[in-house]
């Protein structure tokens, strides 16, 4: 599998990243290398290996349903680029 410029453009669009022509070229090459590296796995016979979703041998970590203190509104909004009426202010998302 090779990576085309089109693929990189598509992924960049999904990630909301603007790329210059130079960056597009550069990322196409570096991403191709990464994919190529991972492709080595294709050569292995993995028929008897179960899909692994997690690398850490751990499971069933649960929390009891008890309320702990939340942040105050002021604390929460202290990281906002802009705030208004107790809310995070963002560019209009519906035209």
């Amino acid at each position: 599998m090779s990576i085309s410029k089109q693929d990189v453009k598509y992924v960049a669009a999904l990630a909301r990243i603007d790329l210059s022509d130079g960056e597009l070229e550069g990322f196409t090459q570096t991403l191709a290398k990464i994919v190529h590296y991972v492709e080595q796995l294709q050569k292995l016979d993995l028929d008897n290996v179960k899909p692994t979703s997690h690398a850490v041998p751990m499971g069933n970590v649960l929390r009891s349903d008890e309320t702990l203190k939340s942040l105050t509104q002021q604390q929460a909004l202290s990281i906002a680029v802009e705030a208004k009426d107790g809310c995070f202010k963002v560019p209009l998302v519906i035209e």
Partner: protein
């Protein structure tokens, strides 16, 4: 006449009524000041670690079992990636290939027939934040209180073939969920939301047509209306030789039509992958059995039992079972007074009317099963008439008193005393000589009219039996 068959699948999102959110210890509470139930986890701050709420998992298993589904012995969480300002992490934690439950069903009634609606899956996920669009139209405001509210998404197979079937399924689903007590199921608050997928195909064809997805329906009635509209639109487009475009449409309730969702979003590509922050879970039989042991009797089973155990009519059973509280109240009342039909009549009639008038649930009414029975006994013993009994009920609910107290205080007990009744009867006889003549000439059923008149004069308090007796005697003796 229509040669098309609609094919409908429904997705219901249900907010669970756990105390805390799904992956953090913030309160899961509606209606708080903006951004006060938030923490680093639900704000998606770097370095924060989500941990699954045990109760959310138990509720999801409960829902799965209530919907006759298989509980997966292995479940995991996945990231569904997309960008939107109400989703602070840039992904929603959901479940992709190992949901909590799969392959369930609910039965709906079509006429006398039962139809099985297959439920493909039920999975846990987190709700997104709430976007408010500023009046100035220049920005949007985000409240993250709702972020991380535990949701269970319940997806049917495309087994529904009319808007009515979809409506019936939603009603029985909601009732089942209410019985399971996992959510308040309040559509106005968004605790229960429904999206619909619909396509049509020529009758007899097995291949599915192109579907559209409908969103923004705020009631089951709106779901039905949106489906009716959309099916008509599909038929018109296809009959005219056109093609349906697969897209998401928003239902506009005021205009009663669907509208294309204008969005700058490109085609969704969610790129699901296992969430490394959340370890997987195994659900063993012991856990499943313990949840199953606590399942309440579900509405359809209760309905069948009410028909046989109490010999109720289909109508009464439907009304009583339509609310778990009402059904429990009925059974408690019948224990006090083993005359199910009479209790059912009072419950389905006057009590339900009071509930509707007051927009209250049975739990909020100032009346216990025992005090309702107290009233029913007064009516049965002839202390008050049926009509006055209803009035007594209203007073009981207003004032939180029992039937005895109300009847005494308001002087509502039935008048059976001959001398008091005869005063009224003589007046009625004097005012209706023509009717009296009819009775004398053998039309004894005309006496009913006089009884009615006398009852009116007594303000509903006269004992009707006694009235009838006295009138007949008086006229015969005249």
């Amino acid at each position: 006449m229509s040669s098309f068959e609609p094919v409908i699948g429904l997705e219901v999102h249900l907010q669970l009524n756990t105390r805390t959110k799904i992956f953090c210890s913030c309160a899961n509470q509606y209606g708080c000041a903006s951004n006060t139930n938030v923490c680093p986890v639900c704000l998606g701050l770097p370095g924060s670690l989500p941990v699954l709420n045990q109760q959310a998992l138990l509720s999801a298993i409960k829902v799965g079992l209530g919907l006759n589904a298989q509980i997966n012995p292995f479940i995991k969480f996945d990231r569904k990636n997309y960008y939107y300002p109400d989703l602070p992490k840039g992904y929603q934690i959901s479940q992709y290939d190992f949901p909590v439950a799969k392959d369930g069903f609910l039965n709906i009634k079509i006429g006398d027939q039962e139809k099985r609606v297959r439920i493909k899956r039920a999975h846990l996920e987190e709700d997104a934040g709430k976007l408010v669009h500023d009046n100035s139209g220049s920005c949007s405001l985000v409240d993250f209180n709702r972020t991380g509210t535990p949701l269970i998404e319940i997806v049917t197979e495309p087994d529904l073939h009319s808007p009515q079937e979809a409506y019936d399924y939603l009603n029985i689903l909601k009732l089942t969920l209410q019985y399971l007590d996992v959510s308040d199921c309040d559509m106005e608050k968004g605790s229960l939301r429904c999206d619909a997928n619909v396509s049509i195909r020529p009758v007899g064809q097995t291949l599915l047509g192109t579907k559209t997805e409908l969103k923004n329906m705020n009631s089951f009635r709106a779901v039905k209306a949106a489906l009716e509209y959309e099916i008509r639109r599909h038929e018109q487009v296809i009959t005219a030789g056109g093609k349906i475009v697969q897209e998401t449409l928003l239902w506009d309730d005021a205009k009663a039509q669907t509208q294309t969702m204008r969005s700058k979003e490109e085609a969704h590509d969610y790129r699901y992958f296992p969430d490394p922050d959340l370890v997987p879970f195994t659900v063993d039989h012991k856990l499943i059995d313990s949840v199953r042991a606590e399942l309440p009797e579900l509405p359809q089973a209760k309905h069948i039992r009410f028909l046989s155990q109490y010999s109720l009519s289909e109508y009464d059973a439907n009304i009583l079972v339509a609310d778990r509280g009402t059904a429990d109240f009925f059974e408690a009342a019948v224990k006090e007074y083993p005359s199910p039909k009479k209790v059912a009549n009072w419950m389905a009639g006057p009590v339900l009317m009071e509930l509707n008038d007051r927009k209250m649930s049975i739990y909020e009414l100032k009346i216990s099963p025992a005090s309702l029975i107290g009233l029913i006994k007064k009516v049965e013993e002839g202390i008050v008439s049926n009509l006055v009994g209803k009035e007594v009920l209203t007073f009981m609910l207003n004032e939180g008193k029992n039937a005895d107290e109300v009847i005494k205080e308001k002087g509502l007990s039935q008048v059976s005393d001959d001398s008091a009744l005869l005063v009224i009867i003589d007046e009625v006889i004097a005012q209706n000589p023509a009717v009296v003549e009819q009775i004398k000439s053998g039309k004894s059923n005309a006496a009913g009219f006089l009884v009615g008149q006398a009852m009116k004069k007594s303000g509903g308090r006269a004992n009707p039996k006694k009235l009838n007796e006295l009138i007949t005697r008086r006229i015969a003796g005249v």
